[in-house]
Symmetry: none
Subunit: 151 residues, 2 copies
């Protein structure tokens, strides 16, 4: 069996099963007829750009099996900020919330869902959320709370 066939099998396994180690992957591949060593799998994983995280191996955009939110509860603002929030900066009545790249949209959505009185409105870029507050004082209050949520 060829290398590309094995790569396909690896992708299928990572997409459908929880793979916690290269040895576990090796055992699952043996059941499919691919018998290679851990060293080869290490190279395969590197070539397939797979990631290893707390839930095992996954594809670069995070869609391996059991990525993390099995519970479809809309993430609370605490969860979202704890996960994607980096820092908050204040300018007069505006807060600039810096997030990880590409995460501004869900963060802004979570803030909107929360119906916070100090929030007049939000605008999301790619890694920045602008939060408009009624005045500078309430901006300060909200900044402190957001800083706590970020942790």
């Amino acid at each position: 069996m060829s290398k590309t066939e094995r790569h396909n099998a690896i992708r299928e396994l990572v997409a459908t099963a929880a793979i916690g180690s290269q040895d576990e992957l090796r055992r699952k591949l043996i059941r499919r007829g691919f018998d290679v060593t851990q060293a080869t799998l290490s190279r395969d994983i590197h070539e397939l750009h797979l990631y290893k995280g707390p839930d095992g191996y996954a594809f670069p955009n995070g869609n391996g099996a059991h990525t993390d939110d099995e519970d479809d509860r809309a993430p609370s603002i605490n969860d979202v900020l704890g996960q994607f929030g980096l820092k908050v900066k204040q300018a007069l009545n505006q807060l600039v919330l810096v997030t990880t790249a590409g995460s501004a949209q869900p963060v802004a959505l979570a803030i909107d869902d929360e119906d916070i009185p100090e929030v007049v409105g939000t605008i999301a870029g790619d890694d920045t959320v602008l939060i408009i507050c009624p005045d500078q004082k309430r901006a300060s209050l909200l900044r402190e709370r957001l800083e706590e949520m970020i942790g």
Copy 2:
């Protein structure tokens, strides 16, 4: 320094720098005043749900620093504004920077990379970048500089 402060520092480092190993992360943290062992960082990484892949550590949705665009040098703000910037308008502490269609993102990124003290944050639309400044005075200063760069 507390654990949550260290976690924030780790998130910032992962978001902005290529972290290839826990030892490398450890060295960068020492420069920021956090001195812990590899064992502690291993636990931190697990608690922060960070992934390790071919490009180093990343957040669960795959956006660490240098995920794939190898051209590490961000184009200078002079280049970008000379090329895409059209005009700047000021309102209190806000600057509205008009660009050519579709160029707001790279312009915003160039501004972010420059680490300008007068910039609290930026948000990019399609052909408009909103720049939040700490106050009206510094917004004026920045507007003048941006106008010079646009030409």
